[in-house]
């Protein structure tokens, strides 16, 4: 699983960080950092939930 974020549309709402803190972190600068671009399968449900909740649909999961 590969996590791709479209940073042009990310608005830093941090919904993804709530859903999958192992993978997404919004830092003090207001920007999103992807902590693991290829997270383990065990996190798939969480990452999918993060992608679903993103208000700007900035997160895509490949494979």
């Amino acid at each position: 699983m590969k996590v791709v974020v479209n940073f042009d549309v990310c608005m830093g709402n941090a919904q993804c960080m709530l859903a999958a803190p192992e993978v997404f972190e919004v830092r003090e600068d207001g920007f999103l950092y992807v902590l693991q671009e290829e997270p383990p399968e065990a996190l798939r449900a969480k990452v999918e939930n993060a992608a679903r909740l993103c208000p700007t649909q900035a997160i895509t999961i490949e494979k």
């Binding site: 830093g12 941090a14 709530l18 919004v26 679903r52 208000p55």
Partner: protein
């Protein structure tokens, strides 16, 4: 359950459709929506889309592949017959169902003084946004915005940044007062004023001025506000009229139990702006926000698929965000009038701060101003405190 009909093809409806499939429903699935358009994201309509920064393609609602649904566009539900278990469309087509999800949303409320004339807008749909955008691009210089809630405040910020002269009007004394209370309402007021928005608060609108085209707004105190564009953002009305003879209980939306199952019916659930459900912690509420439409669509799907009596309660901690000027406002939880406000990070006049609402030694909500990095931490804190609230705490 062999067939499910979902009425409402926006975020909550599509969320329910995707959740049904994700959760293993392999029967017939039909989705009915009254707009001709592909589904779209509403939050950018008052922000990036109105500003012209994002185009139509960028606000398309992303929909999972392989949903295998019959999607009826431009089709309006006219009535629900629970004994026959069918939805009648306005064009007389009938759709049979075993399970039904009601996700018909809400529409912009039009107050008594509202008149349809050139230059008067509400902002709820993409057609609304396109019309407003075109009007502003063509000839707007002076905008009056009536209502300083989410839509009004965001629209004021967007149009101000586009160079319009903006007057923001509300019958309440402060913007966002009913959601955020006095102190934070004051922060919002100063934000508008700092960006050169003129504000008229604590006074009601009496009438719109103009004949074919709007020329301004007359306030109850006699003031005339000149405007060639008026945006009315005074809340929404749930779309429940089509259910009038259905036997479903309507109470500020479709009245549901804690699991989002409609009262007075079997295998009928509701989700999104139209659903008024019995939140286990807060009592009966209806939430008009993005993440709720997604999560409640899922909850409605779960409820339809659950064994009788086994549907889980839907008990989210409410969350919303708003982008105004270059500021991000986020609220986690549900404050009530009378909750004490305490600034816990930064200060009210700082570029970023966090303030919490408290009641009986519990944190009921956290307001984050330009503090997105603190969302996760505060959400956890609110969730653990909310777990201690008892049912019916809010009337």
């Amino acid at each position: 359950m062999r067939s499910v009909v979902i009425v409402g093809a926006s975020l909550a409806g599509f969320s329910a459709a995707q959740a049904l499939r994700r959760r293993g429903f392999d029967g017939k699935l039909a989705l009915v929506g009254d707009e001709p358009h592909l589904p779209y994201q509403r939050p950018p309509l008052s922000k990036q889309f109105l500003a012209g920064a994002w185009d139509r393609a960028r606000i398309d609602l992303r929909i999972a592949d392989g949903l295998q649904l019959e999607w009826l566009r431009d089709a309006r539900a006219g009535a629900l017959d629970l004994s026959r278990r069918e939805v009648a469309l306005a064009d007389n087509r009938r759709l049979q169902f075993d399970g039904l999800v009601i996700a018909t949303g809400a529409r912009a409320r039009k107050p008594r003084w509202h008149e349809e004339m050139d230059g008067v807008f509400t902002l709820r749909t993409i057609d609304d946004a396109l019309a407003l955008k075109a009007h502003v691009a063509a000839r707007t210089r002076k905008v009056a915005i009536v209502g300083a809630g989410f839509i009004g405040s965001e629209t004021a910020a967007t149009l101000r940044k586009l160079g319009c002269a903006v007057t923001l009007i509300d019958v309440d004394r402060l913007p966002m007062l009913r959601v955020l209370g006095e102190t934070l309402g004051g922060v919002c007021l100063r934000l508008h004023q700092a960006h050169g928005v003129r504000t008229r608060f604590g006074v009601a609108v009496k009438a719109l001025l103009g004949a074919a085209a709007v020329e301004g707004v007359e306030l109850e105190d006699g003031t005339l506000i000149e405007a060639d564009c008026v945006v009315v953002g005074v809340g929404v009305t749930p779309n429940v009229e089509w259910l009038a003879d259905s036997g479903l209980r309507i109470d500020d939306g479709v009245a549901c139990d804690a699991s989002c199952a409609a009262l007075g019916a079997e295998n009928v659930a509701a989700a999104g702006d139209v659903a008024s459900w019995l939140h286990p912690r807060y009592g009966r509420i209806r939430i008009e926000h993005w993440d709720n439409a997604i999560a409640q669509g899922d909850a409605a799907a779960q409820t339809l698929l659950a064994a009788p009596g086994k549907a889980p309660a839907y008990a989210p901690v409410p969350f919303f965000w708003s982008d105004q000027y270059d500021c991000k406002l986020q609220l986690i939880g549900l404050p009530r009038p009378g909750d004490a406000l305490r600034v816990v990070e930064g200060s009210l006049d700082a570029p970023r701060f966090v303030a919490v609402f408290e009641r009986d030694a519990r944190t009921t909500a956290a307001f984050l101003f330009n503090s997105m990095h603190r969302v996760a931490a505060w959400r956890q804190s609110i969730e653990s405190d909310a777990a201690g609230l008892v049912q019916g705490a809010v009337a």
